[in-house]
Amino acid sequence: MNDFLLIFRTDYNTMPKASPEEMQASTKRWMDWLGGIAAQNKLTDRGNRLVPTGKVLKPGNVIADGPYTEIKESIVGYSIVKADSIEDATELANGCPILRIGGNVEIREISIL
């Protein structure tokens, strides 16, 4: 089994403003999905969600306000899963709630430093 990083992306600009109830429902959907992966003993690290803002450090000591905007979908969070192959890891990504709101999941195998 290898570790795969799942990177969740969506366009912050098209993300609908959620009410507290919707936020709660969304958290539940994420936990249902992660709980299902964890029940298969395939969750290495639940990972994190990121605050929408940040900084970008570019060559030549240029600091810009983040998130990184060269592509319209920003990274909203990540998790690390265990799988036998990238296909299996992709299968685990299938139920991710980010897909419901037009986002995407990038699946990348983690290499050993």
Binding site: M31, D32, L34, G35, G36, A38, A39, Q40, N41, L43
Partner: protein, 413 residues
Amino acid sequence: MKQAELIPHLFRTEYRKLVSVLCKLFGIEHIEIAEDIASDTFLVASELWGLKGLPENPTAWLYTVAKNKTKDYLKRDSIFAQNVSKHLQPNATTSEEIEIDLSVKNINDSQLAMIFVVCHPCNPAEAQIGLALNLLCGFGVEEIANAFLTNKDNIYKRLQRAKEKLRAEKIKIESPTLSEINVRLPTVLMTLYLLFNEGYYSSNQDITLRKDLCLEAMRLAYLLIDNEPMNKPSANALLSLMCFHSSRFDSRLNQNGEIILYQDQDTNLWNQELIAKGEYFLNQASQGDSISKYHLEAGIAYWHTIKADTKEKWKSILQLYNHLLVNEYSPIAALNRTYALAKVNGKKEAIIEAEKINLADHHLYHCLLGELYTGLDNAKAISHLQHAFTLAKSAADKMLISNKILGCKQQEP
């Protein structure tokens, strides 16, 4: 209380106090001397009380005898006396002023210090539980052997090794500092949790002994939270969990010590007082922003104290299992989560998830699938239950499963 009952009772409550105070006084290298003095004190009591009748204040009498025995020991053995006085005051040369303090405060401090010694991570969990029963709960080797379903020899060796390890590591018996509490409390809580589980989930048929283990674990957890620096949310959550679980103690086992499943329990036997205590400690546990696995397990246990089979109940349980699993995988949590999922989203969805969880060599996995297929595809349900039957090890488990198979067959048209 009659004399015949009094000595065993005092042994349970006072032996551990004497051992703790004397251990703390002598230092880790002389644990055995502390145990000998405490045992001797009770030996004298059982001889003299039988002849002369009970003293006016038996506990005070025990303390006085223990003090005198300690002083005699110090007089007789000057090397030991020197060691002890060095332990108390590194520069001291005489043992004249050694005072044996059996005040409530010192007893309390000594017991707390001993909890942290006994639950020191230098020993494996099993050895920590054995030491806890021996030194903190006054259990003899035979009782511990019964609790672990093994022989006296094994336990004796295990305890000796564990004590030797504490000596080799020169573990100090002292009140932990605030920063030590933060680092070491999780290990202490884990040992108490395992001690409780040893009683609660054991396949031992001795119900009294199992209850005793649970009560001792609860007493030690209470000792912790009764002391402000250790009164942490996680400790309260653990005690809450223990209260909720033990509230069902009388309903979950029949007279033969066999398990009665949750849905078949007589809810009149649920102990409402313990449920109320569990709620109290769960409230205490929610002060602070950290959530331990004991919080999650106490939350699940709380929902199980509510009889009505509502959607809300199972939705909450499902979320708690999600959190539990995301923090730390365990096969039992994976199976229970899937059961909760069936209650919330229906059996069909739960079957799809169950088939992914890959625990095919676990009898409970096939019990779960048997349960999920019942009513949808009884032939499949029966085949899973039969598989579970062959995998189950204990007679009690096999009995439960064969009853289920029977129930399932009766549903066939």
